[in-house]
Structure formats: C-alpha cells, structure tokens
Symmetry: C2
Subunit: 370 residues, 2 copies
Amino acid sequence: MEQKSATKYFPTVGDGSGLAGTEGLYKEELQLALRNRGMPLEALRYPITPTGLHYLLIHYDIPEVNAEKWRLKVAGLVGKPLELTLDDIKKLPRRTMAVTMECAGNGRALFAPRRISQPWLLEAIGNAEWTGTPVQGILQEAGIRNSAVEIVFTGLDQGVEGDQVQFYQRSLTVNEAMRDEVLLAYEMNGEPLPPQHGYPLRLLMPGWYGMTSVKWLDRIEAVAEPFQGYQMARAYRYSQTADGPGEAVTLIRARALMIPPGIPDFMTRNRLVEAGSVTLTGKAWAGRIGISDVEVSVDGGSTWSKAELGESGSPYGWRTWTFLWTATPGECVLLVRAIDAYGNMQPIDQEWNFGGYGNNGVQRVNVIVR
Amino acid sequence: MEQKSATKYFPTVGDGSGLAGTEGLYKEELQLALRNRGMPLEALRYPITPTGLHYLLIHYDIPEVNAEKWRLKVAGLVGKPLELTLDDIKKLPRRTMAVTMECAGNGRALFAPRRISQPWLLEAIGNAEWTGTPVQGILQEAGIRNSAVEIVFTGLDQGVEGDQVQFYQRSLTVNEAMRDEVLLAYEMNGEPLPPQHGYPLRLLMPGWYGMTSVKWLDRIEAVAEPFQGYQMARAYRYSQTADGPGEAVTLIRARALMIPPGIPDFMTRNRLVEAGSVTLTGKAWAGRIGISDVEVSVDGGSTWSKAELGESGSPYGWRTWTFLWTATPGECVLLVRAIDAYGNMQPIDQEWNFGGYGNNGVQRVNVIVR
C-alpha cells in the first residue's frame, strides 16, 4: 500500500489526550473549520444542493490532477489488471442518483469533551445528484478473484496523520463494493466533478458517512485480508478511548434538520420570527434505511407533534418535512427529530465517543417571536 | 431606507467589550466560520477560482429569490425611476472581468485582541470572472440628478445586527459608482450567479474589499446626503474603539499568499517538504493599484529575495509569483510579502483596529524539510 511510517514531525495540539474540555477552540481547529465547508442551513430549501453549497471535508490538500495523463488502476487479486482513462469509464453503463452525504464527524463539536479535529456543529451535509458507473462492473471486467475479501480505494491526496505519511485510503468488503448503488462518480449535478469534490473520479458509497467515498481516485486494489490502514483501523471507529478498536463507522444515522425560521441575529445566529402562522420545514434522512417519521417540538422538547413528510424520491436522498406552527410572542426553542424505517429515533443527546463520530443529537433553534 | 431599530433581543457574546483576548474561540464565532467559507490555499493554483472554492461571507441568510418576479428598483433622486427585469439588464452593454475579491475581515483572528465576529485567518479570498453591465449606464438611463451625492445599494438579505433589524445596505459616492469598472453582475465564471454569490444580481466594486459588493440586489437609490446605515457608519471603519468614527474601509490592501508547499499535517496544517529544488508560488494583489514586487523569505523573515512576477492580466485581478527555493533538511518558516505600485509594502504585522479589518500582515508557513 506504500504508506510510510514517519517519525513524529509535528506538534501536538492540546494536552496530549486528543480531547478538549469546555475551553474555546484551538487555532488548529479554526484552520480546519475555515478550509472545510459547511452547508448554511437555509440551503436545506434546495432539493438538490447547489454544488458550491455542499459540505466539504478535505483531509489533506486538493491534489492537482492532469485528467489527460490520469488513469484509474485496478489491481491486486484480479485476473486482468486494468488502467482506465476517464473516457473508458464514461463509456461504461451510466447511472445518476441523488444521494445525501454527511460527514461522520458532523456534530463533533457538540460533544463534551470534544475530539480535537474538524469542529463541525450540524452543517456537514449536502444532497447532490451524482453520475457514474457501478464499481461492480469494473471489478467484474477485471476478473476479481474469489480469494479477494476487500477492495482498497486509494486517493491522490497525501498528508501526515497519526504520524504516518499516507495517501487517503479506505476499504470496503467485496460484498459492499458489489452493491448496485456503489458508483465511481465523474459528474456532480450534471457537471464534471469540481476539483474539491474529487475530479476526475471519486467513489460514491450511498448511505454511508462521507469518509468512505474516496475522492481523486488513483487505484482500486482487491486484497486477501481486511485492510488495516490508518483511516480504517485507527480513525472512524466508535470507541470510548483513543486506542480502543471499537466498531467501524459505516451507515449514516437518522437525522432531521430545520431551515432556521425568520431572520438571524448576525452574531448568535438566533432567530427573530414574527408572530402568526409559520411553516417550519427542512429535510430528513437515514442512510439507506429511509425515514418513517419526523417530529417537531416548539416548546424545547416537552411535547412533540408529527410533521408532514414529503415524497420519498431517491432511496439514498433526503425527504422534505413540513410543520405548521402558530408562533406566539416570547422566547422558545424549536427541535426536530427523525425516526428511521427500523424505528430508531434520533436522540436528544447521542452517546459520546472518542472520535466524535455519528453525533445525530437533535438540532435546537433558539427563537424570539415578536 | 425602511430599517427599523429593535430593542436588544439577543445575548451578548463575551464580556461585552466586543473583543476576545487570547482565549479560544467562542461557539458563536465557530458558527460563523462553518457557514462562511474560506478558499483552501492550495486553490491559489487556479488563475480563476472555481466557483465553489471562492470565499463566501453571508451576513444574514442566503435569501430565496424568484427571478421571474424579481425586479431591480432604481429610485430616489432620478428623473425616471426604473423597475428592471433580469432580461432588461442582460440587454445592456456587457462586460467581463477577472476580479480578486477579499473580505475586509480577512486576517481578523490574527489580531490580538480579536474582534468577536467572523474569525478569518488568511483564506477569505477568490479571483472570479464576473460578467455584468456598468452601474453608470443604469444611473444615466434613470437620469440621476445633480443633487445626488451617494448611491445606496440594498440587498434582499435581512437580519439583526447592532440591535437593528436591517436589510444589508452599503453606499458609494456618485463619483465612485460612476467609474467604468463598477458592475451590476449577473454571471460568475460564465454561469448565472449561484445563490450564495447573489443570484440574480449583485454589485461588483473591483479593487474594494467585498463588503461593498452588495449581493441579491433589490434597490438602487440616489440620495442627497451621505448614507448613515449600520454597514457604513458603524461597521467597516478603521477605528481604535468600538464607537470611534474612524476612517471608512475601502480599497484592498497589498497582499501576497503562497500555496503551502509539500504535504500537510492533518491537524496543524504545517508542511512536510522533501529536500531539493522547490518552486514556491502563489498570487499577489493590491486592490486597483497593482503590484510592483513580491519578496520571499525562507528564513523566518531575516532575509528577503525578489520573486518572479507573472504577467498582469486584469487590472483588478491577482498576479502569479514564483520563487525557486533550495530546501535543506530542518525546520523553517516561509514568508511572502507584496509591494504595491505606490511602494506600500505589506507589513509583517498590521496595525490593530477594533473591527479587525484590513489585516494584511504576512502569511507564515511552518515547514519541516526532510
């Protein structure tokens, strides 16, 4: 896999535990927040997120790729290793899907203590229309061997993390990689991928948190053992400790979010709403499981009412919900929660984990009605 | 101007001074950092910034605009008030220009103490190609009166700031508004404006910090007195105090930025570079004045050498600079500074001001060469 270990080059942020308590953000967290990008929540109004509003998490740098010289290498336990041009890939069966993507670290900065890393609140989301070709077809064309148990996807983005110099790499079991909906995507919202979303080609794993959808794909390799790279074995685990193996982060947990109603206060982002009828609306999703209900509370979580659910379009995309609220003057806190098709209800507060993953605790919107 | 004063609705962040010392960031600052967007510095490699990588500062919410019903109102001290459709505006003389835009608050979080607001470091920049029609022509068509001294531009974005419920509004003197290069822009990089950049129409004031280029334009009004709205009289002033009138923030100060070389450490964003010849490169700009020189230091600012300057394209756009560096193993700090056509040199540390504006102190890039 050509990953080198490195001596410890860079300073540790914080007290060495990897966690921060209630103290304010470190400059290193701010640096990450300013280069990665959240979706402003009013953009929940768009059924398909405009490209420039979709969230972005870029582990290292956006690499510079010359698409003419670029080739996708398919290697490892295959009968016929491949080197494909972008045109080769575009000639394969084409599929377009709306897919809600969410960063596994969404909600991280709402945990206490918080993992020192990209400090998301609620906005690491987006729902784009992706076009590509199923991974399945390419693995079949390469003649994947029965001895293969996982497929390792390697990006062109390189950096240092956990004291290792590494290209960004994630794996899928062969069974997961062979699912119909798993794509090698070359278009987003009907245009070639923009550089920041993985040009010229990325993996798209619908229903899973975004870390799996490797961008700037360089190489796909079939291997005989579960892959133990940094992003599989050390990062993206639900664990109570820095070292505990924990469980792998995979499917996106249920979540509903609300377009904050009324107008914002610049500094606090709290809302000012005029009394009267207010249509609360937003989107809800739950990986590939789907949503069964959305509930709204307009009294800080004491009582809950069912919202109306819009039609289910893409099985991997979000659904619109609406709720008619009669706003009366005073202060209140609005909440919304989703229940997935298996009956899992989004918690008020999600159970803590060290990495700050999968925090789908409910959104709270502070409102003044006048 | 239809701006209402409001009682104080929302909590104060911090100790009431508006400033924060060396403590970490407040949650409110993080909220702003996650919805506004910086340009990752490796995107300095693109002569024209891809739309989704350009910086964004959205004071309130991105408004929802129905372009069919939308009209630009031209009113006030004019002989013939106008209500123009987007098609009307597209029929007027068309002009396309590359323009470097920078937020007036870029560098704010590098001041100590810092103003509690959007906590930019260095990345609130972008260089897009904008298409539109000169404001000049529209004011002439409306028959602007000699008694007009300023033009007030009002956006559709509304919020609470400084205890005032307000639409975002900025003014220009008639002389400034009549300059050839001041556009009403309806395209960015050859496409209709995306929602987050002001769809369907925005002001574009080349060479000035971005606060003047009002998005989601609703109304242009010629007035007889200097406009005293919040964004003119209270925000965007170079002042030593919260209340001092200070000087208006206008032209973009000289700045050079470097693509951080080598590969990043995920957490600190410090760089790991292989020893040998390294081409350092980036962009430099100085409002509408232009750049005369760029200098690089590879020893933390002790000695400086001239970089090579690329051609000047657009008078309002950035220029490429390059510098060949022989990297030898060890730690070092790379710096780069621009000198504008009037001889103003970008300072190592800019003089402090209360609002945190115009901080063009030089970039420092921490590097380990191995």
